[in-house]
Structures are given as C-alpha cells and as structure tokens.
C-alpha cells in the first residue's frame, strides 16, 4: 500500500483489524470509546463523524461506520442539494398532483394515465463508474434504474440513455464511447427492454467526466403499486437474486462523492459488475411475486446495498428490523460484516413477506432459480439491529441512517467569470455572406458530431422487443403502447443543453424542460410529468453550487408554469476535476429533463419526417436573433458565450396544445421540433428521415421576424416546430394557430426532388439528400467504427 498523499489522513484504510470471528460489536464500541476509526477514508468529514458519535452516544462499530458512511454520502443523502430540491415539491400545485399516484421520495414516481393504467419512470446517473470502467459502469446504470422501476410493482417496458462524452477526436473518447454504448446495449438488450431514444453529445468539458444517465419506464395497474416499507411485526425480511460479493464496496460513498485524486489508496475504483441474465430472471420473478400478492414491501439494492435497503425499509415502516447477517448468501466467503453491508453487488432485491406467504414466495423464487435467503424480520423496537454470528454489530435508529443524514447549506455565488462569459455574445461573430457560404457552413453542421446521425449508437440497441414501440430514434420522442386493446400509450423525451445552462443556469434548465415538453407534444402526446437528473460540479465550489441552485429554481418554476410535476430523479455532483473558481473547473452544468406524455392511441403518433410530396410545410413560432450557445457558434466558431435563447413558457404551452391537437385530428402528418441546429437541422432531419425533399422560401420569415439568413436557419429560439400538412388540412392548421394567436408561416412544400432547396433574397441554395445523408451518417462511424 502506498503512502497516502494527504498527510492528515489516518495511515490505514482497513476497518479495525479484528478477525471475522471477533467482530467489532456494539459492546466493544461502548467499551473502547476513543478508538480511532478510518472515517475520513470512507468519505466522512470530521463533523459528520462527531454527529454519528452524538447520535449513538458512543463510537460507531465498524459495521455502523460502514453504513453511515455510504448512506451519508452525497450520492445517497443528497446532503448538498436537499435544501434546494424541496422547491420541486413546494412548487407543485394541487392541480399538478391530479395525475400523481406516487410523488417524489419513493423509488420512482407513479402517474395515472387513465383506464386503470399507471406508469412509473425515472432517470438516474452512473457517471463516475462509467469513466472508471465504461462497460460495467453503463451496464449497471441501466440495471439500477430498471430495479427502481420493478420496485414500484411495474413491468419495465422501455429504457433511454442520455450520454455526454469528451471531444469526439480525443484519444480517450473512443474507449469511453465503446464501453458505454456496449454496456447500455449489452445490459438493456439482454433484459428485453426496447431502447426508445436518448441523447449523445460530445464536448471537451466532459473529457474527464463523461455523463451516463439512464431512464426506465414501467407500466402497472393502479392496484399493483408497491412501496419500500417494512411493516407488520414478525414479517420476514427476504434477500433474493444474485449473491453478495466484493464488487462495488465503497462505490457509493467514494466513487460518486469525491473527485479522483492520484495516490489516495482509499479511492480505488470499485465499480460493480452486472449480470443482465440474473436481472431478467429477477424481473419475471418479481412480477410473478407481485401478481401472487406475496410481497408486503420491496426495495431494490443499489448504492449502499444492504445498508440502504434495510435502513430505508425500516425507517419507512412502522417498527424496527432485525437482521442476522450470516444468513446473507455470499459469493465471497471472506467478506467482513462491513463489506457485506456496503457491497453493491447487482441484481439483488429485498422484500418484506408475511410468514404465511413465505412458502409461496419461496416456491416462486425456486421456479425462477433465484437464490433466496430469509435474513431477518420486522420488529417493534424502532431500532435496526444487525447480528453477525450472534454478535450485535449494528444497533441504530434507522431514520438516522436513511433520512436524517447531514444537510448542508453550501455557500453559493454567481461565478466571477460569469459576466465576461455572458458579455461575449455569439451574435457578434462573423456570419456567412453568400448563399454559398451558408451552404458550406450548413453542411459542416450536418456532419458535426452533435448533429450527425446517432444511428451507429442506436443501432446497437434493440428497439423492437416487446412489440409495443410505436416511435423510437430518430423521432422526437420514444412512444410505447401500454394497452393493446385501446392503443393507449406514453411518449417520453429527454433533453439537456449544457451550453445554454453554462451561460445561464436558470434559463438553461428551463430550456431543457421546454424542449422535452415540446418533443413529447410534437409526437402528439399530452405532457403529464417530469423526471430529472441534475449533473453538476462540486457542491464545495460556490460556482457549481450556484449553477445547481439556479437550475433547480428555474426548473421548478417552469414546471409550475407548464403544469407538469417533477415525480422523481437524481442528483450527480462532483462532475469536475479542475481548480475551483475557474471557468473550466467542472462540466457544463447538465440538467437532463425527461417529460412523459400520454397518447390515447399510439397509432396517431406523429413521425418527425414527411413521406410524400406536395405537403405544405409550416413553421410554427417566432425566430429571434439568438445565436449564443448555438450549435452554429460551436461548430463554425468554436465559441461559447452570450445569453441563451429566451424561454417563453406561455408560447411553449400554446405550441404544445396545437401540436397535440394537430396530431390527434390528423391535421399534421409529420412534425419536428426546432432545437439544436435550428431550422436548418430540422429541415434536414425531416427530409432525410424518409428521403423526401422540400423547397422553402425564407423571404416571408426574414421579413416577418426581422432576422437575417443566419438567424433564420441557425438560431435556436424555443417554442418552434416544423409541421407538414396535406392540402386539405392547411385551413385546419391555420385555425388551430389563430385560435391561440400563435404565429404560423407557410415556408414551402415537400417535393419530388431529393433535395433541400432554400430560396433566399440573395439567391437559392440546394443540398442533395444523398449528400446530406452521407455527411450525417459517416461522422460517428469515422471516429468509432
């Protein structure tokens, strides 16, 4: 073992060196009050350790220390974000709760979609593990979110992945991309879950901190909802699924809570290893258990493993819990009690089962060849007690472990560099002068890594399995059918724009919500609920903390205005390795926002591309001179600065209503939202989708909105969408818009020619679809295939 780099660190990383047969018991702890424990190496601060001693009235045992250290980590306790996350609940009105069956705080929120059906969905991060070991980090990220969904009593029906990588041409990026994409696919494909969409972005700010977020959605009947609580004295606590091994020990507190520093031995990578086959069997096994009414309460084992599951189940219940730890089935018999409690071995679930149902429960797990152990029972003591071979090694109030961890009011302040960043507006950058120059820049954008086709990635994911996928990539939102009899289904879209959020975190987070909301409406779904994954820098850096607070406030305010509640999510901090206080100290703040909407019949879902010539092509919404933070500024000028596009939530709401109605009434045959890359990219996407060209004249738009050609094509103003309408429906579209006073403009029509043709006051420019397709399709394979 090398010498710790930090001279203050206690020079041992081992738990108290007692052999297995003589564990550090509660009795020992009471007798040796001043014994030093390696709490700092487990991620606890001095004052946090002092608080544990105060709570217990003695020093913790080694096992208790293990539990507190993982449960009080940033990852599990949300200690830096908790005081601000309260806004999501505080700003949720009774009207917004109308469709909420289960809100924030459980494994995932549950939303009523009608017909007795409910859906549960959530997005979560697995960022740090995915940098250390991309394949397993990403795979277990999918596995973890899927188990959250199962824990609610739902059948998982789809996944999505939100990925952020370093520069596309950096030598380390391919390592991460290959591992992460194979991991997401390898795990999700093996579970039989269609991947219905996601995001991929390349930016140097993610070089040392890739983001791997995964979303899962599940379906259940209202009666099927299960919650994580342990009630009923005498009920059995059952651990089932994979055996407990040495993987992921300390992952929760160490990997997710501190930045990596060389030479500190306690921060060894400890990424979990996934077994998707076991998880698939576990899904079917759990669903059969739920169906048989054999489960009183259930919790998946994720971060902090048994520590988390026992303390959360116990503190959500009405009594206490006792566990005999030697009954846990082990993969590695040499594990200490503390390691068993901290292990993050995957594919494990913990259930509370009545004694009468135990036999039937075991019959189901045996049928599925799922190993099962009764490890304890619910008690009336109000305490969580854990024995190991008869020695009492844990005796705590479970609430102090699970819910009453430290809460920090971290200092935050607008960064010193923010004003200069905002002053450096992209609107001042040189713009193309001639149609030929526009054409050249347009093609560069189409081929750029963040606008190019993601098919190289998405073709590695199964989008067909389960037979209910109505839309998937590259359409605006993923759509899956829930009820085969009626066609009732849900649409989900996720978005985040780290560049906008860096320029203005409040607005950037709102833009993410606005775009996801717009995407869901674009396919014809009524937006109902929100999940978010807040990926930010260190909470100990006031700059990052300010970004986080601003983003949460912006998102909560926008959710209230749009009438869609946040039902659950996740916070990932410490995504940065630079010096605090510098503009490049952490990633672009990246609040990933997922919006779920409902469609009465998924057969009406509107695709993003037009399939026939002669359709009227309309632009809904207003274009402003908004180039700051745009993809044009990034690709053409390698520039980030200025003020992001304004967010007009009233306009987003009106546009959403128009798009939903246009889809339901078959007015629109294709619709595509305008976002990254602006009108130019939307035209390309909609034309290339089915190989049908378009011809538009921009004179009307330039005159009406008072913008130049560059802004018309490349500005990323919000609340806009492109809609294709058959001749007979053009009046209906005009009526829909005029009823809401919403701007609409006929740009042109789809054509027989396989090209995107744009008439400008300075002349015409055309791009052949074949040229566009080639430019778009070759970028990712060029770098990674």
């Amino acid at each position: 073992m090398s010498t710790p780099a930090n001279p203050d660190a206690i020079p041992t990383t081992d738990l108290p060196d007692l052999p297995d047969h003589a564990p550090d018991t509660v009795e020992d702890a009471a007798a040796t009050l001043d014994r030093a424990l390696p709490y700092r190496e487990l991620g606890l601060k001095d004052d946090e350790y002092a608080r544990i001693v105060e709570l217990l009235g003695r020093r913790p045992t080694a096992a208790e220390l293990a539990m507190y250290s993982v449960m009080w980590s940033e990852h599990c306790s949300y200690k830096s974000s908790k005081v601000h996350l309260g806004q999501f609940g505080d700003k949720t009105t009774p009207e917004m709760r109308e469709h909420l069956l289960v809100g924030i705080g459980e494994n995932a929120g549950v939303v009523d979609i009608g017909g007795g059906w409910a859906v549960t969905f959530k997005v979560e991060s697995h960022n740090h593990p995915s940098y250390v070991e991309p394949y397993q980090g990403a795979a277990t990220g999918v596995g973890g979110i899927v188990r959250d969904i199962i824990s609610m009593g739902a059948r998982p029906v789809a996944v999505m992945d939100q990925l952020r990588f370093g520069a596309v041409d950096h030598p380390d990026t391919a390592r991460v991309v290959h591992g992460v994409v194979c991991g997401v696919g390898g795990y999700g494909n093996s579970l039989g879950l269609p991947n219905i969409g996601g995001e991929t972005e390349f930016d140097p700010c993610y070089q040392g901190n890739p983001l791997v977020n995964a979303l899962c959605v599940g379906v259940l009947r209202h009666d099927d909802i299960h919650l994580a609580n342990a009630s009923g004295v005498g009920n059995k606590v059952v651990l089932f699924g994979a055996r407990t091994g040495g993987d992921g020990i300390g992952g929760a507190s160490i990997l997710a809570s501190e930045t990596f520093e060389g030479g500190v031995p306690a921060k060894r990578p400890s990424v979990q290893v996934g077994d998707p086959f076991m998880e698939k069997v576990l899904i079917e096994c759990c669903l059969e258990l739920f169906h048989g009414g054999l489960v009183e309460g259930i919790q998946d084992l994720g971060a902090a493993g048994i520590s988390c599951a026992t303390s959360e189940l116990a503190s959500n219940g009405d009594g206490g819990m006792h566990v005999d730890l030697e009954n846990v089935l082990l993969r590695d018999p040499t594990l200490t009690a503390g390691e068993i409690l901290m292990s993050e071995s995957q594919e494990r679930m913990m259930a509370v089962v009545t004694p009468e149902n135990l036999e039937a429960f075991l019959a189901v797990t045996t049928k599925w060849d799922v190993e099962t152990a009764v490890i304890g029972e619910v008690t009336g003591t109000g305490r969580l007690t854990i024995d190991h071979f008869g020695h009492r090694i844990v005796d705590v109030d479970p609430r102090t472990v699970a819910h009453e961890g430290p809460v920090y009011h971290r200092p935050f302040a607008r960064p010193a560099w923010q004003d200069a960043l905002v002053a450096d507006a992209a609107e001042a950058l040189p713009r193309p002068g001639t149609p030929a120059e526009v054409r050249e820049q347009w093609l560069r954008l189409v081929a750029s890594p963040n606008l190019a086709s993601a098919a190289w990635i998405t073709n590695q994911y199964d989008r067909y399995v389960q037979g209910n996928t109505a839309l998937a990539m590259p359409d605006d939102a993923g759509v899956v059918r829930v009820d085969e009899a009626t066609g009732l289904g849900v649409a989900i879209a996720t978005d985040a724009n780290g560049r906008f959020t860096k320029l203005d975190p409040y607005t950037g987070a709102q833009q993410a919500l606005a775009e996801a909301y717009r995407n869901v409406a674009t396919v014809g779904a009524r937006p109902l609920a929100v999940t978010d994954c807040l990926n930010f820098g260190s909470p100990e850096d006031p700059d990052s903390m300010w970004q986080l607070v601003e983003a949460i406030t912006g998102l909560a305010d926008a959710c209230r205005t749009l009438g869609v509640p946040v039902t659950g999510g996740n916070v990932s901090l410490y995504n940065g390795t630079g010096q605090p206080g510098r503009i490049d100290s952490s990633i672009n703040p990246t609040p990933v926002v997922g919006v779920l909407g409902v469609l009465d019949d998924v057969a009406h879902a509107t695709p993003s591309g037009w399939r026939e010539e002669g359709l009227g092509v309309y632009l809904l919404g207003t274009t402003r001179e908004e180039l700051s933070g745009s993809e044009w500024a990034r690709v053409v000028h390698d520039h980030l600065g200025g003020t992001p596009p304004v967010v007009d939530l009233a306009a987003e709401r009106a546009l959403g209503a128009i798009l939903v109605t246009a889809s339901r009434d078959d007015v629109a045959v294709a619709a595509h939202d305008l976002s990254t890359g602006g009108l130019a990219q939307a035209l390309v996407d909609a034309s290339v989708r089915f190989g049908v060209g378009v011809r538009i004249d921009l004179a009307g738009l330039l005159a009406r909105d008072g913008v130049d050609l560059t802004s018309a094509l490349f500005a990323e103003s919000g609340a806009r969408a492109l809609v294709a309408v058959p001749l007979g429906s053009e009046v209906a579209l005009a009526d829909l818009c005029s009823a809401r006073g919403f701007p609409v403009l006929r740009l042109g029509e789809t054509t027989e020619e396989a090209e995107v043709a744009v008439v400008t006051p300075d002349g015409e420019l055309t791009l052949a679809l074949e040229e566009l397709r080639a430019a778009s399709a070759t970028t990712l394979p060029h770098h990674f295939a």
Partner: protein, 248 residues
C-alpha cells in the same frame, strides 16, 4: 416445477391450431411470438423450459433472447432443457418448429439444423430493418411466400454470423435448404449470406431475423405503406397454420 399451459390440451391440428411458445430463463421475445401467433389466427400456448410435456401443441416456436445469459455459446445450455428434448423428438416426428434468433441457435446446438452462429463480424449488436430473399417456399413456415420474394423484417442480435463447413454449405445449397438469404447487405458476415435454413423434411426452420416483429401495423419495420407498417412476418405463422390444415 411444471407450469400449467395457458390453454387446455387441444385435439390436434386443424382450425384453431395451437402453437406453443417456449420460455427459457433469459428468453425475451416470447410474449411477442405469442402475439404473432394470435394475430395470425392461431392460439398461442405458453410452454416452460422445465416441462418435458409439450401439451399436445400443433407447432412450436423457440423465441429470441439470451437463454441462460448465453454466457457460454448461444443456445448451448438451453438445448439440455427438458422441453428441448421433447422438441427434438417431436421435430423428428414432423412437428413444425420455428427457431428465431436464440431459438435458431438452440436448433443448431441440438443438431436439428447444421452449422452454428458466431459473433457478428463487426463485433457489435446490430438492430435494423433487414431485407431477406425467400429461397424455399416448401417448408412448414414459408408456404405463403412467393419463391424469390424479397421481404423486410427486423434483425437484432450480437451472435448472428452463420457458419458451417464448406461441405455442409454445399449440401444445404444443393438440397434447397437455404430458406432465407440476406439482401441489401450482409449484416454480420454470415456464410453465403445465409439468414435461415431448414432440415431435410422442411418442418424445422431457423433464422436470425425476427418475423414476430413484423406482424402488426404501427409496430413493425418501415415499409412502403408507411413507417413501421411492415407485415411480412405474419406469413411465417399463417404458413404454419395452413400447413397444419393441409396435414390434418
């Protein structure tokens, strides 16, 4: 640990054909295959890998997935399941058997069909709408196609590269036992573009692409009639039903 079949034992072939779909641990497309059977007009019967009784079904589908995680060779463990022993016996007696993807791998592992599947030549999982040419319409599962017809059904796998020794490949060709060939590009390096094959008798067919995912408007591959409207997979199942009628 036998599981009751979803439907009572029937009276054999003919109208109301009962087609069994076997679920192994790690099977993924079993409910999809059952839906395809239903949409084709037959009755799907849920069968369990641990049950050696095929419950009198008129045909069997071995669906896709990753049985037992496919951590060994795809299908290598599934072939030892009690249900598979019953399938092998019944297939030798003429029972129509369709192996899709992992099911095809089980058929080669249990030697009902020759050759084997190895990892795709590009080493990635690949999901795409795949063109196929129907080369043999005399099997139990392809009678509703026209000879030489080109169809589109989804392909999705990691271990889809069909390999066999040259003599076996020559025999398959000579006996007309290549049922499907990839068109529009070989997606995985399969020898001689082979996507699916049959046994001498024509009752056992295995292929890597997934016909059960091209059976319902709105949820299949893109087709000329519209996005996700491809229905070419349906005729696999209607072929089986009509062949059962013919032999009833």
């Amino acid at each position: 640990m036998a599981q009751q079949p979803a439907v009572e034992r029937g009276t054999g072939a003919a109208v109301g054909a009962r087609i069994g779909v076997i679920t192994f641990p790690g099977t993924l497309d079993d409910r999809d295959a059952a839906r395809a059977v239903r949409l084709a007009g037959a009755t799907p019967v849920t069968l369990w890998h641990g049950d050696p009784d095929l419950h009198g079904v008129d045909a069997v589908v071995l669906p896709g997935g990753f049985s037992y995680g496919d951590y060994l060779r795809a299908g290598a463990i599934a072939r030892f399941a009690p249900a598979m022993n019953a399938v092998v016996d019944a297939a030798r007696g003429g029972l129509p058997v369709l192996g899709i993807c992992n099911g095809f791998q089980m058929l080669t592992e249990s030697h009902l069909l020759p050759g084997s599947m190895i990892k795709n030549d590009h080493l990635h999982f690949l999901c795409r709408d795949q063109g196929l040419r129907v080369e043999n319409t005399a099997t139990a599962w392809t009678s509703q196609f026209a000879a030489g017809e080109e169809i589109v059904i989804p392909l999705k796998n990691q271990d889809g590269q069909y390999v066999a020794d040259e003599r076996t490949l020559d025999e398959l060709e000579a006996e007309g036992r290549v049922v499907f060939r990839y068109v529009g590009g070989n997606p995985n390096g399969s020898r001689r573009d082979i996507a699916g094959i049959t046994n001498e008798r024509g009752n056992v067919v295995g292929l890597m692409p997934h016909p059960e995912h091209a059976v319902e408007p709105g949820f299949g591959p893109d087709a000329s009639a519209g996005p996700r409207s491809g229905l070419d997979g349906l005729r696999f199942f209607t072929s089986a039903i009509s062949s059962l009628l013919a032999t009833a």
